[in-house]
C-alpha cells in the first residue's frame, strides 16, 4: 500500500461515550501507519442494542444514519468486531425487514468497505508488525462476534505476536463466550455473571497483567467482574496495545 488510504473512523457509541481512549488510540495508530483519518460526525451507533433486544423496526433509522454518515468513505474502520459484524450482518437484514430495498442495497454496497480494525491492518494495509511496543504479559480473548460474526480469524493474534516486548500467553477456554451479550447481561444477570466469572478466572490463571480483546463491550463486563473481585488483571483494547510505542508508551 503506497498511497495514503483515507479512513473514516467508526468510533462506535460505546467507545465514543465510555472508552474514548480506544478511539483515540485507533486514530493515532492509523495515522502512524500512514492513513488519513476522518471522523464523520453524523455517525452514532450500529443499532445492535436495539436489534438484539427485539426493537428491529426501531433500529432502521439508526441503520440509515450509519449508511448516510459513511457512504462517501473509501474505508470505514471500527475498533469492534461486534459493531462491525452487526453492520455487515444485520443492517441489510433490518432494511429487508422494513421493506426498504434501496437501503438494503446501499448498506450492502457500503459494507464491502467496512472493516474491523485488525482486518483493515492485515488485509488492506498488509501489515502485522505495526511498530508497537508493549512490554507486558498479555492474554487475548477472541470475542464471539469478532470470530463468528465479523470473522476476523487469527488476525488480532498475528498483530499481537509482532508487538515488541510483549509476553503473549494463551487464555484457557478462549473460545468460550464471556456472557456479556448486550441486554442479556441484565435480562439474565445470573447466567451472564456466571459465564463472565469463569472468563475472569481464566484470565487471572494466566498470570497476565492485561486481558486484551477487540471489543470494549465484552471487556466492560469481564473488567467489571475483575474489578469487583479485586483481580490484578486490567482489561485493555487491542487498539491501545497496537498504538503504544517505545517513544509514546501507553
Amino acid at each position: 500500500m503506497t498511497s495514503r488510504p483515507s479512513v473514516a473512523l467508526f468510533a462506535t457509541c460505546i467507545n465514543d461515550t465510555m472508552f474514548p481512549g480506544t478511539a483515540i488510540a485507533t486514530v493515532r495508530l492509523l495515522e502512524r501507519l500512514g492513513c488519513t483519518v476522518t471522523f464523520p460526525e453524523a455517525q452514532t451507533c450500529c443499532g445492535q442494542m436495539l436489534t438484539n433486544t427485539g426493537y428491529i423496526a426501531q433500529a432502521e433509522p439508526v441503520v440509515r444514519t450509519f449508511v448516510r454518515a459513511f457512504e462517501g468513505a473509501d474505508y470505514v474502520v471500527g475498533p469492534s468486531g461486534s459493531c462491525v459484524g452487526s453492520a455487515r450482518h444485520q443492517h441489510p437484514m433490518i432494511a429487508s425487514k422494513v421493506g426498504d430495498e434501496g437501503l438494503r442495497r446501499a448498506s450492502e454496497t457500503l459494507n464491502q468497505r467496512v472493516f474491523e480494525l485488525s482486518e483493515f491492518l492485515v488485509d488492506v494495509l498488509g501489515v502485522t508488525d505495526v511498530g508497537a511496543w508493549f512490554p507486558h504479559r498479555v492474554t487475548f480473548h477472541p470475542t464471539c462476534h469478532s470470530i463468528r460474526v465479523a470473522g476476523v480469524g487469527d488476525r488480532p493474534q498475528r498483530l499481537l505476536r509482532e508487538v515488541g516486548g510483549i509476553d503473549l500467553v494463551d487464555l484457557p477456554d478462549a473460545d468460550q463466550c464471556c456472557g456479556f451479550g448486550g441486554t442479556f447481561s441484565v435480562k439474565n444477570p445470573d447466567v451472564s455473571v456466571s459465564m463472565g466469572s469463569d472468563k475472569a478466572r481464566s484470565a487471572v490463571s494466566t498470570g497476565a497483567e492485561y486481558l486484551v480483546a477487540g471489543d470494549n463491550s465484552c471487556l466492560m463486563h469481564i473488567g467489571g467482574l475483575l474489578s469487583r473481585s479485586k483481580s490484578p488483571v486490567t482489561p485493555i483494547h487491542l487498539a491501545e496495545i497496537l498504538a503504544s510505542t517505545r517513544e509514546d508508551p501507553r
Partner: protein, 493 residues
C-alpha cells in the same frame, strides 16, 4: 391413586417460572453443574474431532441444509407421497392436528389391542405431546426402554437434554435410583449393584428384558420418513429400539410432519451428519429402516401418526421456518455456554438449549411468559450456528423471535422497556441528539459526583442489575467526539 408408572410430582413443566427466574436453581445445583460440564465438554470435543475427519464437512452441512429445505418447501406434496407409499406397504396413516388428537389416536389404538402396557423407543415428539401421561390416564403403562430415559422415568424426573436425557445425573445417582425404584416397577436391581457403568447397564438390561418379552405394542417416534418409499428410519444406540421394532405385534409411530426426506438417497447425507453431530460417532450403532409390514417378520400391524402441533405455523414464518430443518442431534446444546451452566429443565420445554429457545416459542406461540423469555435465553455467542449440521441460523432466528416478542408485548400499550428503547432509538438516529444526551448525562454525572470516579457506586434498578455483581467504570471526562472537535480546532495534537 396409585400410578402404573413413575413420574414427577407435577405435570410437565406446569407452573414453571420463566428462564431468568428458573436459571439460578440450575446455576446453584453443584452436582448438576459438574455433571453437565463434564458431559457437554466430552461430547463437544468428540463431535469436533469427528467433524474434522470429514474433509468436506461444511459441504456436507450445506447438502443437509438443502435436503431439509427441499423437503420443507414441498412438504405438502411429500407428505401425501409418503402417506401413499406407507399405505400401499401396509401401514395405516393417521393425521393429528395437535397433541390431544395424537394422544387420542394412540390411546384408541392401544385400547383396540387390549394392551395394558406399551414399550417405548426414545422419542422427543411423544414427550412433546406428553403421551405417557395420556396413556397412564387411560390405564396403560408406558415403559421407556432407552437407558437414559429409563433413568429419568425411574427417577420421577424430566429429561434435560435431547440426546442424553439424564445428562444431569451421574452414575452414583443412577445407582441410587435403580436401587430405590426398579423393584417397585418390575424386576429389582441386584443386591450387589455398584455404580460401575457395565453393572448398571446389566441391571437395566435385566429389568427391561421382561418388558420387551411381554409387550404386545411398541411406540416409537421417527428420525426420518422417506417420502418415495414410505420408509421409517429409527436411529438409536442401544439396541432397545431394535427390540421394540421386532418383538411386539403392533408398532405405533408418532412422527412430526417435518421429518420427511424426499428420497432414500438423501439419507446418505443425513445419516453421515447425524451421528457425528450428536454422539460424536462415525457411524450410528443401530439404524433401522422399516418399510410397511412383512408377513412373519416384525410387527404385523403398523400405524404412523403424522403430527402437526404447531409445525405449520412455524413453516409459515419465512425466517423461523429454518428451525424445522432440525434433526435433533443436540450439537447446539453441547456447545452452548448457557445450557452448560443452567441445564435443560430451566427452558420449560422438552426442547432445551439453543434449538429449544427457537423451536418452543414457535410451536407453542408467545402467550405464556415462559415462551416469551426463551428467545432471550442466549448471549448470541453463535457457537450453535457453527456446529449445526443443517446450518440453522439460530442466532438470527433468536433475534427475529425477540422482535416478535416485543411486538406481542407492545401490541396494546407500550411497556417501560419499549419507552426506554424508543428513547434510545431516537438518540441513536441522530448524532446531534446523541451529542445532547452525552452532554446531558455528563452534567447529571457531574452533579451526582460520578465523573472522575474510578467506578460507579451502588445505584438503584435498573443499574443494580449490572452493579450487583459487576463494577462499571465511571463515565469518561471527555467523549471521543469532543476530543476530536478539540483536535480539529487545533487545541490538541
Amino acid at each position: 391413586m396409585t400410578r402404573l408408572t413413575p413420574a414427577p410430582d407435577l405435570p410437565a413443566f406446569l407452573g414453571m417460572p420463566p428462564f431468568p427466574e428458573a436459571a439460578p436453581a440450575g446455576l446453584a445445583n453443584a452436582t448438576q453443574r459438574a455433571n453437565l460440564t463434564h458431559a457437554t465438554r466430552t461430547i463437544r470435543t468428540k463431535r469436533a474431532v469427528r467433524a474434522s475427519e470429514v474433509s468436506n464437512w461444511d459441504d456436507l452441512r450445506t447438502a443437509g441444509m438443502q435436503i431439509r429445505n427441499r423437503a420443507l418447501r414441498n412438504l405438502d406434496q411429500y407428505l401425501v407421497q409418503a402417506e401413499q407409499a406407507m399405505t400401499e406397504a401396509g401401514v395405516t396413516v393417521h393425521w393429528a392436528r395437535d397433541a390431544d388428537e395424537a394422544n387420542r389416536i394412540v390411546v384408541d389404538l392401544v385400547r383396540a389391542k387390549q394392551a395394558d402396557e406399551v414399550i417405548k423407543i426414545k422419542s422427543m415428539v411423544t414427550q412433546e405431546i406428553d403421551l405417557n401421561e395420556a396413556l397412564e390416564a387411560a390405564g396403560v403403562a408406558a415403559w421407556e426402554t432407552d437407558l437414559a430415559e429409563l433413568i429419568v422415568q425411574l427417577g420421577h424426573d424430566r429429561p434435560s437434554h435431547i440426546l442424553v436425557p439424564a445428562i444431569h445425573r451421574n452414575r452414583t445417582e443412577v445407582r441410587d435410583i435403580f436401587r430405590a425404584e426398579m423393584g417397585q416397577w418390575g424386576r429389582p436391581a441386584p443386591d450387589d449393584l455398584t455404580d460401575d457403568p457395565a453393572v448398571l447397564a446389566e441391571a437395566a438390561r435385566l429389568h427391561l428384558r421382561e418388558k420387551f418379552l411381554r409387550a404386545k405394542v411398541a411406540i416409537s417416534g421417527g428420525n426420518f420418513i422417506v417420502a418415495e418409499t414410505g420408509t421409517l428410519v429409527i436411529v438409536e444406540s442401544e439396541g432397545n429400539g431394535r427390540m421394540c421394532l421386532t418383538l411386539p405385534e403392533t408398532l405405533i409411530s408418532v412422527v412430526g410432519i417435518e421429518k420427511i426426506v424426499p428420497t432414500f438417497a438423501d439419507l446418505e447425507v443425513m445419516l453421515r451428519l447425524l451421528p457425528r453431530s450428536s454422539t460424536g460417532e462415525r457411524m450410528n450403532p443401530y439404524t433401522s429402516f422399516i418399510t410397511g409390514v412383512t408377513s412373519g417378520d416384525g410387527p404385523q400391524e403398523r400405524h404412523v401418526v403424522l403430527l402437526d402441533n404447531g409445525r405449520t405455523n412455524v413453516l409459515a414464518d419465512e425466517v423461523g421456518r429454518a428451525a424445522l430443518r432440525c434433526i435433533r442431534c443436540s450439537a447446539c446444546l453441547n456447545v452452548c455456554p448457557v445450557y452448560e451452566r443452567v441445564g435443560g429443565h430451566a427452558y420449560g420445554s422438552v426442547y432445551p438449549g439453543p434449538i429449544g429457545a427457537i423451536l418452543t416459542p414457535q410451536l407453542r406461540g408467545l402467550d405464556s411468559p415462559v415462551d416469551r423469555a426463551l428467545p432471550f435465553a442466549s448471549s448470541l455467542c453463535g457457537a450453535c450456528n457453527d456446529v449445526c449440521p443443517v446450518r440453522i441460523p439460530i442466532s438470527d432466528i433468536l433475534v427475529h423471535l425477540r422482535g416478535k416478542v416485543v411486538e406481542h408485548k407492545t401490541a396494546t400499550h407500550p411497556t417501560p422497556e419499549s419507552i426506554a428503547f424508543a428513547a434510545v432509538a431516537s438518540t441513536m438516529a441522530s448524532s446531534r441528539r446523541l451529542g445532547l444526551v452525552q452532554r446531558g448525562s455528563e452534567l447529571v454525572g457531574r452533579a451526582l459526583g460520578l465523573v472522575g470516579r474510578r467506578r460507579l457506586p451502588r445505584l438503584p434498578w435498573p443499574a443494580s442489575l449490572w452493579l450487583r455483581d459487576r463494577d462499571l467504570a465511571a463515565p469518561a471526562k471527555q467523549t471521543f467526539r469532543d476530543w476530536w472537535r478539540q483536535r480539529e480546532r487545533g487545541e490538541r495534537p
